[in-house]
Structure formats: C-alpha cells, structure tokens
C-alpha cells in the first residue's frame, strides 16, 4: 500500500480520521510536557506516573465512573507517595520511584484481571488507536487544550523552577506546587495517550521527541515547538505503518520517534555525533 492509498483511506474511513486526530494531539501534548520532564531530570518519574495510572483505570471500571478520574487520583497519589518516602527516610528518590510505581502497577494488573478480559488489559498497556471511539477522541482533545493552556499560563514558572529552583524558591515561588502541577499534567497526558500508545510506551512519547529537540536547539521555546512537531510526525508516520502493515499502533509510533532521534543524534548541526568527531579531530590537528 502506498502513501496515496493511506490518504485515500483517511478520506474514506471515519475510524482512521479519529485515530489520526487523536494520535496527533497525543504527539503534541507529550512532546510539550516531555520538554519539562527531561530538563528537570524526571524521565523515570514520567515512566512511574504513567504506570501508576493503571490501578486508577481498573477502579474506575469497578465503580462505573469515567476512568479519567481514577487515573488522575492514583497517578497523583503515587507522586505524593514518592515524595513522602524520599523526604522522610534515607531512601533516595529513584529508589522510592521504583518501589511505588511497580506496586501501583502490580495492583492495577490484579484489579484488571478480576474485572476484564486479558485483551482489555493488552489494549490499555499497548494502545489500540484504530479502535478510538468519538468520546475518546473528544476527551483527548479536551485534555490537550487544558494541558497546553496550563503550560502557556505557567511557562515562566515552569522555566525558572526547571532552570534555577533555588532562585525560584528564594523569591517565594512554591517549587513544590509547580512540581505537583506538572505531575497532574503528566497523569492527564498519560490518560489521553492510553488509546494511542498505551501505558507502557507513553514514556517514549514523552522523552524521545523532547530529547531529539534538545539536540537541535539552544532555546527552550524552540525546543517545545520542535518537540511537538517531532511528536506529531512520529504519530502520523507511525499510524501509517500501523494501518498499512497491521502493526501495533503504539509500537510503530515509538519506533518512528526513535528513528528520528537516531538521525538527529548523528547529524545534528549543533550537538550531533558527526559534529563532535569533527571538532575533536580539529582539536587534535591544531
């Protein structure tokens, strides 16, 4: 199947349009939030919060409420728990993250196995973008607007707490509040990404496009737009492969993002591998 066939299918099939809109939105919001995640050295935290959403999803099914509410609740509880354990013992932050998110995830697996068939678990873990319902699409769009709006409003605070948290605290900005604001947005983004890439791989959409953008520019504002753009491209191309070759949508999208990262890692004009080698050679000859 060619790209023209894919475009043709897009005009024809409603489900494919919904899949495209949803995955593009996921590409954008993951790319934007991801910039702050990687600059704050919180990649592992991103992984943790996305996994911690699982028990919330299960409990929501059990109670018959929107899974969005349960997901945000367990995601935030885990973030608070990690903060509590690392501040009140000699356990280091990454260890606290490791303990709490695996516990939440394990609890989620057991709850889900009581409630639903294994194929549902599979879809929550790995996504199934071609089965996006209209309600899922609208929820993703709404979350996207909320997250982008929050980033726009708190840009200054996010910048200063990421770059120089001591100064931010010194002039009276609550770095803790900004941290939990970001954690809230992280759980929202994970929920929005459930259908597209799933819980396990959402961390790749957070980190990989942002890291690729980080190698391309020296300005945060540009990094955010580049990262959103790279997330979008990964989503569209990944969806094409997923639809055309009947592959898992999440895995296809993530591998496209990885391919883009590899290209930039080697060829980036500022921070690429080739550039590094060249400047080293120059140093040796002079």
């Amino acid at each position: 199947m060619t790209i023209i066939d894919f475009i043709h299918a897009l005009t024809e099939y409603d489900f494919l349009q919904k899949a495209l809109v949803t995955s593009v939105m996921v590409g954008i919001i993951c790319g934007v939030i991801g910039c702050f995640i990687i600059l704050r050295g919180m990649s592992l935290m991103g992984d943790a919060i996305s996994h911690a959403v699982l028990p919330g999803v299960a409990i929501s099914y059990l109670l018959g409420i929107n899974f969005f509410i349960g997901a945000v609740a367990t995601g935030l509880l885990t973030a608070l728990g990690i903060g509590f354990v690392s501040q009140n013992s000699r356990i280091k932050n990454d260890t606290a993250i490791g303990i709490l998110f695996t516990s939440a995830f394990a609890l989620g697996i057991i709850l889900i196995s009581f409630l639903r068939s294994s194929s549902d678990l599979y879809h929550i873990l790995f996504g199934n973008v071609l089965a996006v319902r209209p309600s899922d699409m609208w929820m993703t769009l709404a979350i996207g607007l909320i997250v982008l709006g929050a980033i726009f409003l708190f840009y200054k605070e996010l910048l200063v707490t990421s770059f120089d948290p001591t100064m931010a605290a010194a002039y009276g900005l609550s770095t803790r509040l900004i941290h939990y604001l970001l954690m809230t947005m992280l759980t929202l983004v994970t929920v929005a990404s459930l259908q597209t890439v799933g819980i396990i791989l959402v961390v790749a959409m957070l980190i990989t496009p942002a890291a690729t953008a980080y190698l391309l520019t020296n300005r945060l504002s540009r990094m955010i737009f580049l990262s959103a753009g790279l997330g979008t491209i990964s989503s569209v191309i990944g969806l094409y492969f997923s639809f055309t070759y009947n592959l898992s949508s999440g895995a296809s999208i993530v591998l496209v993002a990885t391919a883009l990262f590899s290209l930039v890692f080697i060829f980036s004009p500022r921070h690429g591998l080739l550039r590094k080698w060249k400047s080293k050679k120059k140093e040796l000859t002079t």
Partner: protein
Amino acid sequence: MIHAVEVDHLSVSYFETTALENLSVRFAPGQLIGIIGPNGAGKSTFIKAIMGLIPAEATSIRLLGQSAKQARTQVAYVPQRSAIDWDFPIRVIDAVLIGCYPQLGLFKRPKKHHRMRARACLDRVGMLNYADRQIGELSGGQQQRVFLARALAQEADLLLLDEPFVGVDAGSEGVIIDLLRMLRDEGKTILVVHHDLSKAADYFDTLLLLNRRVISVGPPQDVLHADLIEAAYGNPLAFLQKVEVSS
C-alpha cells in the same frame, strides 16, 4: 539604624548533625561582606537559612528591616556554579531576564521594558556581545558575570553570592570584584561566601569567620588573626599556610 542583615540565635540541623549553632550577627547596609571558614563550616547553609530556603530555628531573622518573607523579592541570590545545569537550553539574555520574574505576577510575561533592562544589566557586566549565546558556551568567569547581571536586573538591595570565584580565571575575578565594589558604592549590601583567605582582607569591608558558630566578625584586620583562624580551621598546618598568604 536599619540593618541589612539582622540574625538572632540562628540554629540549623540536618537530621542529627548541627550545621549552625546559636549564631547572631548584624550587618550595616552598604558593605561588601565576606563569609569565610573551612569546608563544612555552614557558610552556604547560613545564606540559605536567612533566605528561608531551609528549615531553621531563630528568634529573629530580618533582612533590610523586614521579615525574610517580606524582603524576599529584594534579595538576589547568585548560586554556586555547580548548582546550575549549563546545558539548559537558555540564552544569556533570557537567563538575565529571569531576574525580572520576582516583580512579575503570576501569568504575567516580561514586557519590552524588561528586555531593555536585561540588556542594560548585561551591558553593565560587559557581556552584551554574548546575549544570544547559550549559557554553556561561556567561560566560568563569564557565566558568573551573567548571573551577576541577573541579580542586577532584580534591582535587589541585598545580594547573596555563593562562592562566586570558584572556577573563575584571575582576569574575570578582578572584573567581578570591581563590579561588586561599584554596587557597594551605590548602597547595596553584598554577602559573599568565600574560601580563599589570601584575598579576603583585600576584597571585603567586613568578614564573618564561621565554623558552625561565629568565631569572629568585624573588619578584616581584626578577624584575620592567627589564633582566630586556628580556632576556625583547627588544623595548625592550614593555619600556617593561611596566615603566611594573608600577611
């Protein structure tokens, strides 16, 4: 007289260890003050405690005649170089612009006149030509000057600098100390955490010699006495080296 810094009975402990014990000092405004003492003496802790960044016990901490909380937008802090991620995607001019943030409310963005102020501050430290560089592309001394420009943009009356001369070449060190003197002459109060005793007498109007408690405070010629230095550093070998260099 309103003191720039007024601290009564300040104590700080981390878990079981005491970092600062019952420390009381007062500094008159318009001075360049050096905070000296051995490693682990609590110099940085002192600065962080008076800014309210770490939990501390004190009967009173007043900065510029106000409570530390009221004064916090008028206090500028220049962190240790090691505390900053120099790969952060930020240009020199934008790093200086952050100095305007304390005066901006929530949701407010820097305006054109803030950018102008940031450029003017960058010009004052002689770094305007580097405005569009990424901060990691600068030398240690240049980086320190950029953070000084940020403190200027904050228009603060009290400046707290944590080890500003570490990793800085001699030329830049001279430029920075000249700038600090100029600011002092404009009436600002500047506290500098410093570890090199050899230049202490030369640089500062007042010295605070610390080792978890106040060993001595006053003009450099009174503080830099052999017995006081030994009381702070404990090690007679260190004491010999320091005094030889400082005399």
